[in-house]
Symmetry: C2
Subunit: 389 residues, 2 copies
C-alpha cells in the first residue's frame, strides 16, 4: 500500500427532494450564482423551476449557461468565465451529468486562474491555487465528478480531450436525487453505468501490491453496478435500483476507494482520443476500449486480472488455467456490456480503423506514457485499438 493523503470535504445530500436545499447551501458561499445546465430537459421537466424557487427563497440571484454538450467544449467554459466576471458571480452550480459538472468546475477554476484555463489541463506543471466554490445537482450517475477533484474538457480547436486535477474544484456539495434519473433514455443509463464500472476498473487494475481492502471495496462497487445497471434498464422507474447506481457512482471518484493505490487510467486516455474525434458517448467508448486493453496488458500482472475474473465475475478455475480464467473474465465483461446494448468493438460503434494511428499518436501528446500502472507507448495504443476494431 502506498502512503496517501485523503481529504474530501464535499457534502453529499442524498434522497428525494434534496434539490430543495440548494438555495440554502449556496447562500453559505455567495449571493449570485451561475447555473450550468446539462440539457434542455432540465427546464422542460420542472427541475429548473424547483431549483430557481429554492435560490429565490434563499436570496440568491442566478444566471444561466445553457446547452452544455456531451464531451464538453472549452468554448463554453470561456463563455461561463466571462459571465461570472461580468456579473460578479461567487458560486457555480451544475445541473446535469458529467458534462455540466466538468464545465462548471472549469468555469469555477478559470475565473480565479492566472491566464488561460486550458493551460492547466493535461499538464502536471501548472497548478490551481484557488477556484470559485461550485456545487452539483446530479441528473445522471456516471462520472462521479460530483465528488471528484477532476474535470475533463475537449479543446475543439485541436480535438484534444484533457484533464484538470485540483482539490480546489471538489464540489462543496452534491445533491443526489435518484428520482431525477428515472426518465433517462436507456442508452444514457447504459453509458453512465459503463462509466461507473470503468472508473472502478481503472482503480482496480493497479500495479500497487497489498491493497486488499480497497480491492474488496472496489469489487463491492463493481458487483453493485453489474447487478443494478441491467435492472435499471428493465425497471427504469424503480427508485431503489436508481439509488444503488447513484450511490455507486458517487463513491467511485471521491478518492476513498483509490486511497493507497496507483490507478491506471490508460483506457480512459485512449477513449478520450476516440471521443475527441468521433463524439461517441464516453461510456460506449470505454466499453470498446476496456476489453481490448485488458487482453493487451494482463500478462504484465496476471494475478490481478485473475482476481478480477474470480472475485467480480465468479469465474472458477483450476491451477494452470489462469490464462483461460482471465479470458473468461473479459468475456463476461463483454457480455455485460452487450446486455446493456453497448458496443464492444469500434465497428459496432460505427468507427472504422482509418484514424487509429492518429488516435495513437494523439494519446502521446504531452505525456511520457499512456496509463500509470501499465504504461503504454503509441505503438501499444495502436495495437489496442486494432484489437478493438
Amino acid at each position: 500500500m502506498n502512503n496517501y493523503v485523503y481529504h474530501n470535504p464535499g457534502k453529499i445530500i442524498f434522497g428525494r427532494g434534496c434539490e430543495q436545499s440548494i438555495g440554502e447551501e449556496i447562500a453559505r458561499y455567495a449571493k449570485r450564482c451561475l447555473i450550468v445546465l446539462g440539457g434542455p430537459f432540465i427546464k422542460e421537466n420542472g427541475l429548473y423551476d424547483r431549483v430557481a424557487a429554492s435560490l429565490e427563497e434563499a436570496g440568491v440571484a442566478y444566471f444561466d449557461l445553457e446547452n452544455i454538450v456531451p464531451n464538453p467544449r472549452l468554448a463554453q467554459v470561456y463563455e461561463g468565465i466571462e459571465l461570472c466576471r461580468q456579473h460578479e458571480i461567487g458560486f457555480v452550480l451544475a445541473i446535469g451529468g458529467g458534462s455540466a459538472i466538468d464545465t462548471a468546475k472549469s468555469v469555477a477554476a478559470g475565473v480565479r486562474a492566472e491566464g488561460d484555463i486550458w493551460d492547466y489541463f493535461g499538464t502536471f506543471t501548472k497548478f490551481l491555487t484557488d477556484a470559485l466554490p461550485c456545487g452539483v445537482l446530479l441528473t445522471l450517475p456516471a462520472t462521479g465528478s460530483e465528488s471528484s477533484n477532476c474535470a475533463v474538457l475537449t479543446n475543439e480547436a485541436t480535438g484534444l480531450k484533457r484533464s484538470l486535477f485540483s482539490d480546489h474544484i471538489i464540489p462543496r456539495f452534491a445533491a443526489l436525487n435518484p428520482e431525477l434519473s428515472c426518465s433517462l433514455p436507456p442508452y444514457q443509463t447504459a453509458c453512465g453505468s459503463a462509466d461507473i464500472l470503468a472508473h472502478l476498473m481503472e482503480a482496480y487494475f493497479t500495479a500497487t501490491d497489498h491493497v486488499d481492502l480497497t480491492d474488496r471495496l472496489l469489487e463491492a462497487a463493481m458487483q453493485t453496478v453489474i447487478h443494478y445497471a441491467p435492472l435499471a434498464l428493465r425497471y427504469p422507474h424503480d427508485y431503489d435500483v436508481r439509488a444503488e447506481l447513484y450511490q455507486a457512482a458517487n463513491i467511485t471518484n471521491n478518492g476513498m476507494l483509490m486511497a493507497g493505490r496507483l490507478g491506471d487510467w490508460g483506457s480512459h486516455n485512449i477513449e478520450h482520443e476516440i471521443s475527441g474525434i468521433y463524439d461517441i458517448a464516453h461510456g460506449a467508448g470505454l466499453a470498446v476500449v476496456f476489453p481490448a486493453w485488458m487482453r493487451y496488458v494482463w500478462r504484465r500482472k496476471p494475478e490481478r486480472f485473475v482476481q478480477f475474473a474470480r472475485r467480480v465475475f465468479r469465474v472458477d478455475y483450476a491451477p494452470g488455467q489462469e490464462e483461460w480464467a482471465v479470458e473468461a473474465g473479459i468475456a463476461r465483461l463483454e457480455a455485460f456490456y452487450r446486455e446493456l446494448g453497448l458496443p464492444t468493438r469500434l465497428a459496432e460503434a460505427g468507427i472504422d480503423g482509418s484514424r487509429i494511428q492518429e488516435m495513437a499518436d494523439n494519446a502521446m501528446i504531452g505525456v511520457e506514457a499512456v496509463g500509470m500502472s501499465f504504461p503504454l507507448q503509441a505503438e501499444d495504443v495502436r495495437r489496442i485499438l486494432e484489437l478493438a476494431r
Copy 2:
C-alpha cells in the same frame, strides 16, 4: 435506502513517518496544544519525542494529559478541560487508541460547551454548537474514532458508559502509521480487530431495506478484518498486514459505509454495561455479546442474517435450511473470535451472572429502547446476557 447527508471533512494522512507532519497540521489551527496520551509506552518508545520535535519545529507549544485508561473516565476529561482553560490551548491532539481519542474529543467539546460536558452524553436533547479542533495520531486500529463524530466515556461515579455525537468533534486530521501497531500485545490486536468487526456488524444488521451497495462495502471490510486479524497475530511486524487493519478501522466509522441505513448499536450498548461494571476490554466484551445478540434477534429479519452467513462466512445452504445457515454463520463468527484468543461467553471473561439484571436495567437508563433497528427492552437484554453466560 434512507435519505442522508454525508459530510466528513477529516483529513487522513496515511503511512510510514506521517507523525512528522503533525506540527505543521496543528499550526494551521493553534499555537498551543494539549496532548492526550493513551499510555506510558508513547513516551517510552520515542514516539512522543518525534511528535514533540514536529511541534517544536512548527512553533506549537504543548501540554500533556497522561495515562488515559481503557474505558476512559470523565474525571480525566475534566482535568483536560481545566488544562486547556488554564493555558489558553487551541487544539487537542490524541496519541493512542480509542480511549485517548475519545478523551481528547470530550475535552475539545467540554472547553466550549455550556455547563457540564457530561450532560451532552447519552442524550439526544442537548447538542454541541462548537468545540476546539482536535486531531489524532493513532497507535491502535480499533474504534475508528479517529474519523467519527462520536466519543464514549464512563462516568465513574455511576458506572454508566455513554456516547456523545456531534460533527464538531470529527478530528481535523488523523495520522495513521501502521508501523506504530507492530509492537502491540496480541490481546490488544485481537480486541481492536473485534471492535472493527463489531462496528461493521452494527451497521450491517439494519432494518433498512435496499441498501445493497453499503451491504457489499461492509462485507468487503468485514472480510478484510476476518482475513488480516489472525495474520496480524501470526506476523505482528508485517507492515502490509497492519496497514489493512488500520485502513479498515479508519473507514468503518467515517460515515460512508453507513450512509442511507440505520445501524443497530444495541450490542454496543449492552457491552457498555458490561465494561462499565467489569472493566473488560471493549473488543472482548463485544465478542461475548454479539453471538448471543444474533441468536436472540435474527428472527426479526432472517434474510439479513442469512445474507451475513452466506456472503461474509461463505455458508452454503439449500432452500429451507435458512435457520441452519444463520446458526452456521454465528458459529463461524465464534470460531473467528476463538482464533483470536477472545472469550465468547461471560464465564470465559471471568464474569459470573450475578449482576445480569443490574446490567439489563442500566442499559435502559435514559433510553426508550436498546438498539435502533431491532429495539430491545430490559427483559430482552437480560435474556441476551443469559444466552452469553
